[in-house]
């Protein structure tokens, strides 16, 4: 057989191997990402970076509720209120009551965005969900996809263990307690900026309670304070 046909044969053999390797890699990737809940591209690298947090200042506050878009892994997310939305849990959808609903999600991973009145976005996964006291558990796998398709007007919202807020800056009124009440700041429409908050938050009647650790706090207004 002429030489150029042999070269062509070698090239097409290489291409076949590349194609087959790509196929295997994609197949394995599809299966791993679907069946392993802890899969992450960055893996322990990012976890390692997260653990090197410099948040050391004990921070407790009761302020007005900001607009927030948070995401992460929370041990418990609890909210009450009303909505005409459907609440999607796994493959089921639940019509929420117009008057009062009480929802609890355990081990929630995903996004949650809210302002002083509404939960405007909720999209993630949870291991167990209670809707008005009725538990919903996964059937075939160990996680449930959860989402809301419309705003949920909440009367109370609580996110526990733990929410990470890398930066929060807004004009607020209320009280801040540092290091277990050793320093107390009372704010009246003053600008606060805090960096790297780790802890629990809850919102009720436009009161936003935060309890955890921060790396830095700046208050600008009548009182000008910077703590780090």
């Amino acid at each position: 057989m002429p030489e150029h046909y042999e070269i062509h044969h070698h090239k097409s053999n290489n291409l076949r191997w590349i194609m087959f390797s790509a196929f295997l890699a994609i197949l394995v990737f599809l299966i791993i990402t679907a069946f392993s809940d802890n899969f992450s591209f960055t893996g322990n690298l990012v976890n390692g970076i997260k653990q090197q947090s410099n948040s050391t200042i004990k921070f407790n506050a009761e302020l007005t509720t900001p607009s927030m878009d948070a995401g992460g892994n929370f041990e418990k997310v609890e909210f009450q209120g009303n909505s005409e939305s459907f609440f999607y849990v796994g493959n089921e959808k639940f019509q929420l009551n117009a008057k009062n609903n009480y929802i609890v999600m355990n081990n929630y991973t995903g996004a949650i965005a809210f302002d002083s009145q509404n939960i405007v976005k909720l999209n993630g996964k949870a291991t167990k969900v209670f809707i008005n006291g009725i538990p919903v558990e996964p059937k075939t796998n160990d996680i449930l996809k959860v989402s809301l398709d419309k705003d949920f007007s909440y009367t109370s919202l609580s996110i526990e263990n733990e929410i990470k807020i890398s930066k929060l800056s807004y004009i607020t009124t209320g009280e801040i307690r540092i290091n277990g009440g050793k320093k107390i700041f009372t704010l009246d429409n003053e600008q606060i900026s805090l960096k790297n908050f780790i802890g629990d938050v809850s919102a009720e009647n436009n009161k936003f309670k935060m309890s955890g650790l921060i790396e830095k706090l700046d208050i600008a207004g009548e009182t000008k304070i910077s703590l780090s």
């Binding site: 002429p2 599809l30 679907a34």
Partner: protein, 162 residues
């Protein structure tokens, strides 16, 4: 394999799509896996879904472009091999100069009735290879028919001049 101009005057063939059955199988396995993941209610990673789609589309494009890269044609006077899509090279071999034709098939190709035909021009160093064409036996029979016709016509012409 396609015949044109009514009375078997022209035969045009390209590589058979049967060659790409393993590629089509890979695409099917990936799509089946996605279906199974959805059916089982598992979370489908959007990046994995996207690369599966890109891989499938690329495979389809590559197989089709590979197939369209070679066109083999037999007419009344020559065997023509056109290579390339945008940049083409055409090799014409006069049917009078074709000495013999060889069919090469492995068991898989025999089962699916496709194979490689090598048309030699009195030397193994100068031959036209038609890779992975459908019904290679029919192709060779057609080629031999055309060769016989041309040789008969050539003989008649030479006889007429006498």
């Amino acid at each position: 394999m396609s015949k044109k101009d009514g009375e078997d005057d022209l035969l045009k063939v390209r590589s058979s799509r049967k060659v790409y059955i393993p590629v089509y199988l890979m695409i099917l396995i990936l799509l089946f896996t996605i279906g199974a993941i959805k059916y089982m209610g598992r979370e489908l990673n959007s990046f994995a879904f996207r690369i599966t789609l890109i891989f499938s589309v690329l495979c389809m494009l590559m197989t089709e472009s590979h197939r369209f890269r070679n066109l083999y044609e037999i007419n009344n006077s020559s065997l023509i091999h056109t290579k390339g899509i945008l940049f083409q090279s055409t090799k014409r071999t006069d049917l009078l100069s074709v000495s013999d034709a060889e069919i090469k098939q492995n068991p898989w190709q025999r089962m699916l009735n496709y194979g490689t035909v090598e048309a030699a021009v009195f030397s193994k160093d100068s031959m036209t290879v038609m890779h992975d064409i459908d019904k290679p036996m029919e192709f060779v029979v057609f080629l031999e028919g055309k060769m016989a016709n041309k040789r008969g016509a050539g003989g008649q012409q030479r006889g007429g001049r006498k």
